[in-house]
Amino acid sequence: MTMSFTNIDDVRRRIEERRNRLNEEQRRAIRSILENPLLEDGFLLPIVDGPPGTGKTTVGAYACVHGILEGIIRGVLYIAPTNFAAQQAKLAFENLGVAPGDVVWLNPRAREKNWERGIVGVRWDLSDLGPNDIRRLRNIPIIICTPYMLGRIKRGGFRSSNTKVLIDEFSQVDPAIFFMILSKTGASVDRYVRGGYALLGDPLQLPVVTTQEELMENIVEFIRARRTIEGGLNTLTLQYRMHEEICNAVNRMRQELSPWHDFARLQSSSDIRDRDLEGLGYRYAEERVPQGSCLRREELREILNPSYTYVVLNSDRLLGNNREERTRSGSLHNIAEAEVAIDIAVAAHESYQAQGEGLAPTIISPYSAQVYEIRERLRTRHPSYYNILGNRVITAYSSQGREYPMVILSLVRNNPWRRIGFLEDEKLRAQLYVACSRAQAKLVVLMSKNTFGGRPLYEELVNTSNSQHALIWGWD
């Protein structure tokens, strides 16, 4: 039986439409993904290095759907390191017209079985699946899951041999996890994956948090430490997310973070290069900017001015308690930064409107205690905004893979000893890169000059060369 989509005509049409919008880098990456992995004199493991906003998940999804439509592959196993990333991948497939029921997110929550929405929970021993369910899963064209679900997929024989395995967010895939994937999908004499594997991700993004150096290395670093990859990676450099000013800051960080010499500079697509919040459809009304509890109205107006898409605030200059404090949970918060983040978010919500709805900025922090502090302050002091902004306060880790019109980043650390903890860890400092690259049209960074100043990565944040779109506040 040939595996295909229930709405094959729709999918074919959407794929054709999308084909014309692919750039040359994306096309080459798609070609690589669909190629036979066994070369005459070697092996092809397609690796797509997709920095933020370059559409790597779309590239992966397009390749899979195209491959199934053309009969090149029979099915797809899409492996994402987290359940959130799995959901994002599912959306990418649905955006290509695939019916929700044709792309199943397999998860361990056995009570959850919604075949129409394509969300299916399965027990470890498959004891909750009937014979019809098993057949159904074998005939689903695309299955998405985390690596720890692969035992269930193997047990049920849910993928045929002509399956393509895509592994997303490879920065979070250490060699141990990669070889586990290989073991669960390839270590069989008969029922093994002949379609081969492909890796998608950005090597500069966040790794798994671990105590072991061997597990901090991602699989691409592991491979590059052993072999030269002939011809290089499939690097996507045209980004479709960030305003040029934000993209410049991200490029400076990429250069600082890159452990390899082949650092690729991100280019902004012409559609979004100058796209600020007004370009996204928000109308700015300066007169609606309210007085903040920590910042004055004039200060807020300057920060929210649409011409500044990139703002860095020196939190040393903030009034009140601007030092970090450790909470009982072991995490850190900074009350002054929390207040300022709320001031800016509330003012942005009031002053930027699109179709009668206020902008809901996203507040990101590397510290869970700061996330909690901001949420609690919103709940107790600004209850009317809590419902709108409360779930827009997240940690840097949970922000990976998402994009938002406006981001406010609170770095929290502010102490006389200039300690910044894991934010100077060679790998974990990528939290800054990830958080900043979530912003589409406006980025506000709260950072203490006394604490972070002089460190190369953080200095790059203020190295804006007097750009007209950047405001560096209180840094002199």
């Binding site: 096309r27 798609i30 070609r31 690589s32 669909l34 190629e35 992995p37 066994l38 070369l39 004199d41 070697g42 092996f43 092809l44 493991l45 397609p46 690796i47 195209h66 090149i72 021993d125 004891s127 035992g151 060699p175 141990a176 996890i177 070889f179 586990m180 290989l182 073991s183 390839g186 270590a187 069989s188 004499v189 093994y192 994956v193 081969g196 594997y197 671990t210 105590t211 072991q212 150096e213 597990l215 491979i223 052993r226 072999r227 030269t228 990859i229 002939e230 011809g231 990676l233 499939n234 909470t327 009982r328 949970s329 072991g330 205690a369 996330v371 909690y372 997240i394 940690t395 949970s398």
Partner: protein, 527 residues
């Protein structure tokens, strides 16, 4: 009467006993040192680790580095067998609890049906359970009738100690779960499915396992035990290994137990060493000493009670050809995954045990200060909802921390009734959306698996779950198992190897040939 099958025979070459255990230093316990690299302390073993190490040094090697559990066979020796054992334990405790609550013994079979349907037990397992239950009921009727008098019985009691000794002054850490403590009749029971009707001795090493558990509970400070179990002296308790067919009384003074335990702890320490070259020597010695004392293990003459046969002896396939280079890289990963488990899991066990048992009260206080609100959350029971769980109230000062911890993700918890050192440890699911829950007021409905009769005990919620199979430290074991499977796997036929994606990947990555990540000269529209 207890006896070990190797009495009178020559013992496996004994390890030199340890003169001291490698304990974590106070700065590790206080988390003043960044967790990185080799943990400079030994693991906090559980009773099954010690039994495995006593059975064969390779069993504990496979457990540490390849994530393979349970060298001692279950009834079927596979996952289904392990499941059957778990259901058997749970059902017996459920049955006894229900009889104490007033159900009749004659209802046992219908209770089994209820249990099986609520736990979604498959037909084969239910049938096996029913057969085993009949054997068990046949000889337990009298003792079950005593349950109407409401004896004080606790099931699945977790015990942990940092003061276990084996005839010398050297202290060891150890923890484990006692299947049943019958305070009224002063006995400790280890229940197992292993054994046959005509056995005259307890199943292999089960008496040793029970003796270790008794050693733990006897070494815990009296106050900690009294608070939970209402008694404090376990010296004269009977130790009983209970199979479905017979009960065996264990001789607590068997001198071989001390020797087995010391030997096992030496292997555990040697195989967990942080020195790579010494570890290589220890692993080599484990291979040379494989087998039980006086019963060396060879291919074709394996120890029949050991489930590791397929992991020690397997056929080496011809391909991948670069297996040795691949294997040496995998070894680094096995070690890293093991170290990760010790930092994440075993250090936490040490912290909890020191917090309750260490003689330095300043360290105890510091640990309490560090862990409360971060990893553990003290609570009290408001009331129990029968067969479902409890409403618990979190101490006021720790409510913000709990909210902070659970704000973004579903965090798993264990719930301990009593203390970490001696308490009833259950898998807990915090049902925050339940109508009984009001998280801001510190009230949470907690669903519990397993029997409970604990209304008068204090409660500790422990973040990160020490028991759960799904937690990150446990997932590392699953990764280890997969890597080991991949290392053992291969193919023999040339043609198959040439076309096999996995073989070709490994041989290209660790050998010769072009490794590519992209194609350039390919016509996309050909597709």
């Amino acid at each position: 009467m207890t006896s070990l099958p190797y009495l009178g025979r020559q013992l496996r070459q004994r390890r030199v006993p340890l003169t001291r255990w490698r304990w974590p230093r106070p700065e590790h316990l206080r988390e003043e040192v960044y967790r990185r690299g080799h943990p400079p302390f030994n693991p906090f073993p559980n009773v099954k680790d010690v039994v495995d190490a006593a059975l064969c040094p390779l069993a504990i090697f496979h457990k540490f580095y390849h994530g393979l559990r349970g060298a001692g066979r279950g009834l079927r020796g596979d996952e289904e067998g392990i499941q059957l054992g778990q259901h058997y334990h749970q059902f017996i405790s459920y049955l006894k609890t229900e009889i104490v609550r007033g159900k009749r013994i004659e209802d046992a079979e219908s209770l089994l049906s209820n249990y099986c349907s609520s736990q979604r037990v498959d037909v084969d397992t239910e049938s096996s359970l029913r057969t085993l239950l009949r054997y068990w009921l046949r000889r337990k009727r009298e003792s079950l009738e005593q349950l109407y008098e409401r004896p004080r019985i606790f099931f699945e009691v977790h015990v942990a100690s940092i003061n276990v000794t084996f005839g010398r002054e050297v202290r060891f850490p150890l923890h484990g779960v006692i299947d049943e403590i019958d305070i009224t009749n002063r006995r400790i029971i280890e229940r197992t499915l292993r054994g046959r009707e005509d056995d005259t001795e307890p199943p292999f090493l089960k008496d040793f396992q029970l003796w270790l558990l008794w050693k733990i509970i006897s070494s815990i400070g009296n106050g900690l035990v009294r608070e939970v179990l209402g008694c404090e002296n376990f010296e004269d308790y009977e130790l009983i290994v209970e199979t479905p067919y017979r009960d065996f009384l264990v001789d607590k003074n068997n001198p071989l137990f001390n020797e087995l335990a010391e030997d096992a702890f030496s292997w555990i320490s040697d195989l967990a060493t942080s020195n790579n070259s010494r570890l290589a020597i220890a692993i080599n010695e484990a291979w040379q000493n494989r087998g039980f004392h006086g019963r060396p293990c060879r291919y074709g003459e394996e120890i029949k009670e050991c489930a590791m046969i397929n992991n020690c002896y397997y056929r080496r396939r011809r391909y991948p050809e670069r297996r040795s280079a691949f294997g040496s890289d995998l070894r680094r990963l096995y070690y890293a995954l093991f170290n990760e488990q010790i930092w994440r899991h075993d250090l936490m066990l040490y912290q909890l045990a020191y917090m309750e048992q260490h003689q330095d009260t300043t360290l105890q206080r510091d640990l309490r200060e560090l862990l409360m609100g971060r990893s553990i959350f003290p609570a009290s029971i408001v009331r129990s909802i029968r067969n479902e769980g409890f409403i618990v109230r979190i101490d006021e000062q720790f409510r913000p921390s709990l909210l902070e911890v659970i704000q973004d993700e579903v965090v798993n918890f264990d719930i301990i009734f009593g203390s970490f050192s001696a308490g009833l440890r259950r898998r807990a699911q915090l049902d925050i959306d339940n109508t009984y829950s009001n998280i801001r007021e510190g009230q949470v409905f907690v669903r519990i698996e397993g029997p409970t009769n604990v209304e008068d005990l204090s409660v500790l919620l422990i973040r990160g779950s020490l028991l759960l199979r799904e937690e990150p430290w446990f997932l590392k074991r699953l990764v280890q198992q997969s890597l080991f499977n991949l290392e053992k796997w291969g193919v023999d036929r040339d043609e198959r190897a040439r076309k096999h994606v996995t073989v070709r990947f490994i041989d290209t990555l660790f050998g010769s040939g072009q490794f590519r990540a992209r194609v350039d000269d390919y016509e996309f529209h050909q597709h």
